[in-house]
Amino acid sequence: MLTVGDGNRQSRKEDSHLLHFVSEGMFVVSLDAQRTGNSKEKLGGHAGLLKGYSVLLAKAPLLKMETLGIRSEDVQTTTTNTPVGIFLVVYYISNYVFRFLCQILGRFNRARAAQLTLPHFISQTPLFMPVGTKGAIKGLTTSQLEEIGCQIILGNTYHLELQPTSELIDELGGLHKFMNWPRALLTDSGGFQMVSLLHLADITENGVTFQSPVDGKPMLLTPEESIQIQNRIGADIIMALDDVVRTTITGPRIEEAMYRTLRWIDRCIAAHKRPNEQNLFGIVQGGLDPVLRDICVKGLVERNLPGDQLIEMTEFTSVTAMLLVVFQAVKIKIHFGVLLLSALLRCLKINHDMLWYKTVGVGYPLDIVVCSALGADMYDCVYPTRTARFGSALVPEGILKLTHRAMADDTRPVDTTCGCMVCKTYTRAYIHCLVTKDAMGSQLLSYHNLYYMLKLSRDLHSSIIEGRLPEYVCLFLCLDFAFYLLSVLFHWFVCGFLQKMFPKGDVPEWVCNAMEVAGIDISSCCAPFSSSQD
């Protein structure tokens, strides 16, 4: 459930990166379900916001409380303390959303729905890939995954190499056989985990040096080795090792990483032993710098990656497998929207029709809608299953926090519009008494959340095929209060972030340009924020 409170109450330290831009008396919309603790006040604030919202936005016919799934009984408090805050939220919602919609409508032709033929499965894009880090999706059997329409599962090379080791997987017939998954698999290069999970990871021209988690000795992962491991695991799609840098870093390190990634791709191609069975995806590096991104994309395209070996199996004349790493710094979600939009757009300038774009760490439903509209094809994220284990369900309204006390006597299904086994059978009240206490709670919610994500990507696919994407996006966004809030949040995040970084309003030109491309109005950041309250 989205939670809303006023700025003072929520300004705890851990929220600071979300909320630092909020001045006193403002309402804050926090999307991150995991970070919200108990709070009646938040619900009160939430309801209050909704109340004000529905009143003030009476012009928009779709925005009724009923359509948002909020019962009037839930509205506990009114907006007594901060009417200004509510007004601003509403202002932002109305101001932003329509801008946002127009933008997507304008770029509708970038969206693609396609058929991706892999050795084990013919999949339909846009598609969402659940993450089975250690050779299993947490809490679901492979038969259940097939049932809910999962097409590709992602495995993490780093974790699989630690346990049970790629040699063992190879000996037992590959990962498909090991986990008994008849459809497609994808493995990453392992480099990202080494940098993110391990301290003392050092990247040199030869490869990534890291401290072994087993005995603490320094170990080296080279591009060749990464490909060897992935060859042994045997996934349908494998990733080239890249030089991972935080997207927040600027300067020569980005350029170095980009060129190194290009040099390593050659080594990866040379080391790839099973080009007929496994498709190698390259990785675009280059940080925020559009020039570097362009160079990297061109470089990869020139190499005409072994993906074109797929010709025999696909109906496409030229298939080049591509991975677009837009966003490695998963944790810093604030950056996400900006980076994604600008980076995607940069790359799409030299778009080849059959490039496959995969985005990393893209998992929020809105992200998927936006990325698909901009032409990305594949997404993976642990978000649906992880958030399920924390007791949150993905619903069209956003996030439903089933741990909240208000759920204890709610006899509606988790998502009234969902057709999955969980929503057809169980009430929120029952799930409420299971979540975070019993394994079954995580299992049922993971099932629902994955179903929701897979259904979303299926709907995107069919809506693109039928030429309905604009309407779908509209419908999705209009009916959906959460995504209004999310878009506000996104806007707000960006503004707040920029304001914090440039308190005098001296936002660099390149940021302004990126914002313009992304359709984000940052004019409020170029002047002191407080003035917008007047």
Partner: protein, 495 residues
């Protein structure tokens, strides 16, 4: 719920059929149907009405109808959901979406809700639960029962471990009988009651407990005494010697002095015995016979009588040797044509002993313990003459009944847990995979293990039923115990 014994072994073991009505779901096309389950049967343990790890869409992969009996503990719902909400949802069947399954309510689940005898007092039974130690009174317990509408339910029992004093043990029997009366008085129509039998490790107390409960199996169950008991206890008048209340109207007078009609009504908004509650002032004039007549009438319309017996107090420190005499003392006192349910017997050897004494329904906490420990049951369901000194088997740390998949020897084992097993896990996955999942703490390991273990244990019960029907139960039991003993010896020798 109906029960009939179909076959007897040479001893007390019997095979029967239990019938219950399921699928009576309001506002749906499901029609009430009868399900027949053969006994001796296993009641699958659940947490909050669902198996621990097997999600409802995977449940149908278990053998049907054997797997359609589930046991749950109403105490699991003390936190997070109220009886009112459960009623609003439409009872337990509707809430967990298992309309074609039979639910048996037992307060203790032998896993996370265990009786705590030191804190149990005259008001109610104390349990250790995941949300702390709680005291539950018969009235609170019955509130949950009436909201959940299980197919059968067990009365509240004061279970004590084997080592308590004789006096405490005696108290526990008295209380359990009293609470049975309370629960019956408080129960609504249509419930199938399993009367709780306790008695610790004393054969005499076990017999007394069983006899007391057995007395209550007839239609005059709701005697005047039990009603009076309830009245007294609802006013917390326990200071009065309870035994005196059985036949004297003096207490009715006392009661009317001590309590006002308001408090009476507040405590008993709707007296659930099915007849009008007399005003307190009039209470004493009501003849005992009147009560009896009323009770008989009401019991004709409702099936409010003990349809079976639940044997509690096991799995709490008694020795294996004591088990048979204690169980025999109990089952000898019980009418033959009623089912007997037990809690706390888990190991296959214990189950065999229980069946040998004439118990029909068992709980499955053993499966939970195996599963969470990474074990898979593997004992042969048909007796195969094997070379017990098979070193390969004993090397793998097996005792002949189960294997520990945490063991590194299964790392590369590309075979199913049990060759030829028809369960979902064995049909789809290998020992190597489950072993890996356990190694990396993946929830899927527990799902797959619970499926296999449940499937296998249900097969064990089927084999037992066949043996009883074929008149070979004693041989079956003998061979089973001998085999596992041989295995342990072989393992010890090769170690």
């Amino acid at each position: 719920m109906k029960f009939a014994v179909k076959a007897w072994s040479k001893g007390r073991a019997r095979a029967g059929v239990i019938q219950f009505v399921v699928g009576s779901r309001s506002n749906s096309p499901l029609h009430p149907t009868e399900i027949e389950i053969e006994t001796p049967a296993l009641l699958l343990s659940t947490r909050k009405g669902l198996p621990f790890f097997i999600s409802p869409d995977l449940l149908p992969s278990l053998p049907s109808p054997d797997s359609h009996l589930l046991q749950f503990s109403p105490l699991h719902f003390l936190e997070g959901i109220t009886p009112e909400t459960i009623s609003a949802i439409g009872g337990l069947h509707e809430m967990v979406g298992l309309h074609e399954y039979g639910f048996a309510a037992v307060p203790r689940d032998s896993i996370v809700c265990l009786p705590h005898c030191d804190c149990t007092n005259k008001l109610g039974a104390s349990f250790e639960t995941p949300f702390g130690r709680i005291l539950i009174k018969p009235s609170e317990y019955m509130k949950f029962i009436s909201s959940m509408k299980p197919n059968s339910w067990t009365s509240l029992a004061d279970e004590v471990p084997a080592w308590v004093s004789e006096k405490r043990n005696k108290t526990s029997v008295d209380r359990t009988v009293r609470w049975l009366d309370d629960c019956i008085a408080l129960s609504s129509k249509g419930g199938n009651i399993f009367g709780a039998i306790v008695g610790g490790s004393s054969v005499e107390e076990r017999r007394r407990s069983a006899q007391e409960v057995a007395k209550r199996n007839v239609s005059d169950f709701k005697t005047c005494e039990s009603v009076l008991y309830y009245f007294f206890r609802s006013f917390n008048l326990e200071l009065i010697d309870e035994t005196m209340a059985t036949s004297s109207s003096v207490f009715v007078n006392q009661m009317s002095h001590l309590a006002t009609p308001e408090t009476f009504e507040a405590r008993n908004p709707n007296h659930p015995t099915g007849f009008e509650i007399p005003r307190l002032g009039e209470l004493w004039v009501i003849e005992r016979t009147h009560y009896l007549a009323q009770t008989e009438n009401s019991s004709h319309e409702s099936s409010n009588k003990s349809v079976g017996y639940w044997i509690g107090g096991f799995g709490l420190g008694e020795s294996m040797e004591d088990l048979s005499p204690l169980l025999n003392a109990v089952t000898d006192c019980l009418p033959e044509q009623k089912p007997r349910q037990i809690c706390g017997l888990g190991l296959p050897e214990e189950v065999l002993q229980g069946i040998d004494s004439g118990v029909d329904l068992f709980d499955a906490s053993y499966i939970y313990n195996l599963t969470t420990g990474g074990f898979a049951v593997t004992f042969p369901l048909e007796r195969i003459v094997r070379n017990v000194s098979d070193s390969k088997l004993s090397n793998k740390g097996s005792d002949g009944t189960k294997i520990n998949l945490n063991n590194a020897v299964y790392r590369k084992d590309n075979s199913p847990i049990v060759d030829g097993c028809r369960c979902y896990s064995c049909q789809n996955h290998t020992k190597a995979y489950i072993s890996h999942l356990l190694n990396v703490n993946e929830m899927l390991a527990l799902i797959l293990l619970e499926i296999h273990n449940t499937h296998h244990y249900l097969g064990f019960f089927r084999a037992i039923r066949e043996a009883i029907k074929g008149g070979k139960f004693e041989e079956f039991q003998h061979h089973f115990i001998e085999d596992s003993r041989d295995h342990i010896f072989a393992a010890a020798l090769s170690a």
